[in-house]
C-alpha cells in the first residue's frame, strides 16, 4: 500500500489561502474602481458647482458661465420620456401577465391539440394564440434590452424624424418648410422611451408576479370583474415594485447620450426649449461636447467636471430612490 499523501486540514493549506485572497482581490479592484471614479469626480466637480453654475447659461464659446439650459433640457427630456414609457410599459406588462394564459405556450398548445371534436375548441385555439403572442413579445422585449443604444438613435432618426416627422410636415406645413421632420425634444423623448421600455416591462412583470394568485381568485370569486381585480387587488400589491422598475428605467434613460445624438440634442442654444419641436441642450451631450470639442481643454475643465458631477448626482439620486423603495417594500413583506 503506498504511503498516504500528507494531509493537512483542508482550509488551512497555504495555497488555498492565497487563492482565496486572489479572488477577494477582484472584489477590492471593483470597489477601488468605483471609489476612484466617484472620488475624482466629486473632488473636482463639487468645487465647480456654484449657484451661478446651476442658474446661468454658457458664455464665451462654452468656456464660462453655467449649465442651466442643459439641466432644464435634461429634465424636460426625462419627463417627456417617462410620460411615454411608463404607462405603455406598465400596460404591456399587465397585458402579458394578467391577460395571457398563465399555463404557457407549450401547455396551451397541447390542450388545443388534444381537444379535437370537443366543445370549446375555438376558445382553446385563441388561448394558444394568445400564449404564442405573449411568448414572442417576451423574447422580443428581452432582445430589445440588449440592442445597442446607438441603434435606437438610428431608429429614432429613420422612423420618428425621417418617416413620421416628414409625413406630418408634408401634410401640415407649406412645401419646403420643416417643423416636425428634424431633431427635437419630442423625437428624442420617444427614442429614449423605447430604450427604457424593456426595463419597465420586465420590472413590472416581476412585481405583478409577487402578488399571490389566491388574491386574484378571491377577488374574482367575490364577483369583481378582471379590471376591478387589477385595480383594487393587483396594482396596490405591486405598486412599489412597479415604481422601482420605472425609476431604474428612467435613471438609465437620463444618462444615455447615444440615442439623442441625432434626434434633437443641440451643441449650444441661447434659449430654453419652449415647445416639443424645439431642440434642447442635455447634460450628457454637454459632457461629450466639452470634453471632445473644446478649443481650450484646461479652461473648460472645471465646467466639465461640474457638468459630470451634476449628471452623476442626478442618476445616482434616481437609482437611490429606486433602491430605497425596493428595500422598504422588502422589509415590509418579510414582517
Amino acid at each position: 500500500m503506498p504511503a498516504p499523501a500528507v494531509m493537512t486540514a483542508p482550509n488551512k493549506r497555504i495555497g488555498d489561502k492565497i487563492a482565496v485572497a486572489l479572488l477577494g482581490l477582484s472584489v477590492v479592484i471593483i470597489i477601488a474602481i468605483l471609489v476612484v471614479i466617484i472620488a475624482n469626480i466629486a473632488y473636482h466637480g463639487a468645487a465647480a458647482v456654484t449657484w451661478e453654475f446651476i442658474t446661468q447659461a454658457p458664455r464665451q464659446g462654452l468656456t464660462a458661465g453655467g449649465i442651466m439650459p442643459a439641466i432644464v433640457g435634461t429634465a424636460a427630456l426625462v419627463i417627456l420620456m417617462s410620460i411615454a414609457a411608463v404607462p405603455l410599459g406598465v400596460a404591456t406588462a399587465i397585458y402579458l401577465h394578467e391577460y395571457t394564459p398563465a399555463e404557457g405556450l407549450s401547455l396551451a398548445w397541447k390542450r388545443f391539440r388534444v381537444s379535437k371534436g370537443r366543445p370549446g375548441r375555438r376558445r382553446l385555439f385563441f388561448r394558444a394564440m394568445s400564449a404564442l403572442l405573449a411568448t414572442v413579445t417576451r423574447s422580443a422585449v428581452a432582445n430589445l434590452a440588449g440592442v445597442p443604444s446607438i441603434v435606437f438613435g438610428l431608429f429614432g432618426l429613420g422612423f420618428f424624424i425621417q418617416f413620421i416627422g416628414r409625413s406630418i410636415d408634408r401634410a401640415t406645413q407649406p412645401p419646403g418648410e420643416v417643423l416636425w421632420g428634424q431633431g427635437s425634444l419630442l423625437w428624442a423623448a420617444c427614442t429614449l422611451a423605447l430604450l427604457t421600455l424593456p426595463t419597465v416591462i420586465v420590472a413590472t412583470e416581476e412585481a405583478l408576479r409577487t402578488v399571490p394568485h389566491d388574491l386574484r381568485e378571491a377577488s374574482l370569486a367575490l364577483g369583481a370583474t378582471q379590471w376591478e381585480t387589477i385595480r383594487r387587488v393587483v396594482l396596490p400589491g405591486s405598486l412599489s415594485g412597479i415604481m422601482t422598475g420605472a425609476i431604474l428605467g428612467i435613471s438609465r434613460g437620463a444618462g444615455e447620450v447615444a440615442p439623442i445624438l441625432f434626434t434633437g440634442a443641440a451643441y449650444y442654444l441661447p434659449f430654453l426649449p419652449g415647445d416639443v419641436t424645439d431642440q434642447f441642450m442635455h447634460l450628457g451631450y454637454h459632457v461629450l461636447i466639452l470634453s471632445t470639442q473644446s478649443p481650450d481643454v484646461e479652461a473648460t475643465k472645471p465646467l466639465l467636471y461640474g457638468t459630470v458631477f451634476v449628471l452623476l448626482a442626478l442618476t445616482f439620486l434616481l437609482n437611490l430612490a429606486g433602491v430605497i423603495i425596493r428595500s422598504r417594500t422588502r422589509s415590509r413583506s418579510h414582517r
Binding site: 400596460a91 447615444a258 433602491v323
Partner: protein
C-alpha cells in the same frame, strides 16, 4: 353585473391588449427601419456605385502597409469605404474589455457567493449597482480625461488614447454584467452539491472551483456572451476614449474607431439618402444582428440552466 362595470371591464381589456400590441409593433419597426435605410446598398445603383458589400469587405488600395490598403474615408474625393479598420477597432476594444472584465467579474462572483461573509456581500451588491448605474458618457469622460493620462504616465504610450485605455474603461462597464449573471448562477447551485463535496473531504476552495463553478458554467458563459453584446454596441466610452482614428492596425497601442463610434461621429453631418448614410445604417444593422444573436444565445443558455437547477433542487 351592472352594465357600466361590464363596459368598463371591456374597455380596459381593450386598452391593455392594444398596449401589448403597440410594444410588439415597435420592436418589429426597429428591425424594419434600421434595415430599410440599409437596402439601397443592395438596390440603388447610385449608392451601389460608392458603397456595396464588395467595397466594404473586399476593396484594397495600393500601399505598402495594411493601414494604407484598407481605408475608411467615405467623404474624400474618391470615397474609400473599407470596413476592416472599423471592425478591427471594434474587436480590439471588445477583446481588451472582456480580458479585463471576465476574470475580475467571475472571481468576484465566486468570492462573494462562496467565501464572503454576509456583511461583505451586503457591501458588494450596492457597489456593483452603482458601477452599473454610471452613465457611459461619464465613464467615457473619466477614461478620456483621467485614466488616459494616468496610463500614459505609467506606461509611456505613444498615443494617449489607444485600445488599452478605451478597452479598460469598457471593461469597467462590463464588470457589473458579468458579476451579476455569474453570481446568480453560482447562488442557484443547490446546497447539496457543496455538502457532497465537503463530505468527501474537499476544501472550500476545491469545492468552489471544481464543483460549484462547473455546475454554474452555463451562467458564466452566458454572462460572457451578454457582456460581448454590450461591448460590441457600447458607444460613448469608445467615441470619447478610443482616439477616433479609423486605422487598420492590430496594435493595442494605436488609437481606434469602433462601428458604434463611427455611426455616432459621422451620422450628424451626413446627407440623408447618400451612400455614406446607407453605409452607416449598414453598420447599425450589423450591430443589431450581432447583438441580437448574442443576446438570444445568452438568454437561452440562462433559461436552460434555470430549468436544470430547479430540477436538481427538487
Amino acid at each position: 353585473m351592472s352594465r357600466g362595470r361590464r363596459i368598463r371591464n371591456g374597455i380596459m381589456t381593450g386598452v391593455f391588449s392594444v398596449a401589448g400590441w403597440v410594444a410588439i409593433v415597435f420592436i418589429f419597426l426597429i428591425f424594419l427601419f434600421t434595415f430599410k435605410e440599409t437596402i439601397p446598398i443592395f438596390t440603388d445603383p447610385e449608392v451601389r456605385h460608392e458603397a456595396n458589400l464588395q467595397k466594404f469587405f473586399g476593396e484594397k488600395q495600393e500601399g505598402p502597409t495594411i493601414s494604407e490598403q484598407y481605408v475608411w474615408q467615405p467623404t474624400s474625393e474618391r470615397p474609400k469605404v473599407s470596413l476592416w479598420p472599423i471592425i478591427i477597432g471594434t474587436l480590439k476594444a471588445t477583446a481588451v474589455g472582456l480580458l479585463f472584465a471576465c476574470p475580475v467579474g467571475v472571481a468576484a462572483a465566486v468570492f462573494s457567493s462562496e467565501f464572503a461573509p454576509a456583511k461583505l456581500r451586503e457591501v458588494i451588491k450596492p457597489v456593483i449597482e452603482l458601477l452599473a448605474g454610471i452613465p457611459s458618457v461619464v465613464m467615457g469622460f473619466f477614461a478620456l480625461i483621467v485614466l488616459a493620462t494616468w496610463l500614459q504616465d505609467a506606461f509611456g504610450f505613444t498615443y494617449r488614447l489607444n485600445a488599452i485605455n478605451a478597452g479598460l474603461a469598457l471593461g469597467f462597464a462590463l464588470v457589473p454584467i458579468i458579476y451579476t449573471i455569474s453570481e446568480d448562477g453560482l447562488s442557484a447551485v443547490p446546497r447539496s452539491y457543496r455538502e457532497a463535496s465537503f463530505a468527501l473531504g474537499a476544501s472550500k476552495l476545491q469545492t468552489a472551483i471544481t464543483v460549484v463553478l462547473p455546475a454554474a458554467a452555463p451562467a458564466v458563459f452566458a454572462s460572457f456572451v451578454l457582456a460581448f453584446g454590450r461591448a460590441i454596441g457600447e458607444t460613448m466610452i469608445l467615441l470619447m476614449a478610443g482616439g477616433n482614428a479609423a486605422l487598420t492596425s492590430f496594435s493595442l497601442f494605436d488609437p481606434l474607431r469602433t462601428l458604434s463610434a463611427t455611426i455616432a461621429a459621422e451620422m450628424g453631418e451626413v446627407v440623408v439618402g447618400s451612400a455614406h448614410y446607407s453605409a452607416l445604417f449598414f453598420m447599425g444593422t450589423l450591430l443589431f444582428v450581432i447583438t441580437f444573436v448574442s443576446n438570444t444565445v445568452g438568454v437561452w443558455v440562462i433559461r436552460g440552466m434555470q430549468r436544470r437547477m430547479q430540477g436538481a433542487a427538487s
